[in-house]
Symmetry: C2
Subunit: 114 residues, 2 copies
Amino acid sequence: MPSSPFALDLKPPYYAVIFPSMRTAGDGDYEETARLMAELARTMPGFLGIESARSADGFGITVSYWRDEASIRNWRRYSEHVMAQERGKREWYQHYELRIARVERAYSGPEGRD
Amino acid sequence: MPSSPFALDLKPPYYAVIFPSMRTAGDGDYEETARLMAELARTMPGFLGIESARSADGFGITVSYWRDEASIRNWRRYSEHVMAQERGKREWYQHYELRIARVERAYSGPEGRD
């Protein structure tokens, strides 16, 4: 999944979906489908951006940003119609968490803070 | 920084500090100091857990979880007295964002969802 470090210019409040996951050993066509899913997300109403990192041990965190909770519900509902999520459950992830959070404040650095 | 994938059993609402960052090329003693900072965080009131992933290209996401905003303020204030943050600004990170968010709902999988 492509990460977009710091291309985002987001003004709180907005919503974050925090998605930590542990990849399984077999990759399958994960990268290609993940890329497609991210492209799809970009077309959804209320999508603001996405960031993703994965360590060599297979543990990764993806955070997607959304305008409001309705946008997240809509995206979840839609994506459930897409094969990738079903395949994700079965093959790609040993385990994952999904945390939906309202971003209330933000800072950036190191060039300037607060 | 140590990640604790899925050792966390958190009940919303709680707070997340989302910390995406791009590492500079020179590591210095980052890993050792980051480990100490995480150990220190664990001793702070209201600390609930931490997750971290960093890709080979240097982009990483760390999410720490806290009971409330007061705990986060307290941790920030305290950590500003610790060398690591100052060194972090100067050496370790090209750029970072710090997003403070209230986690309102959570799911886990793939064994069970919702």
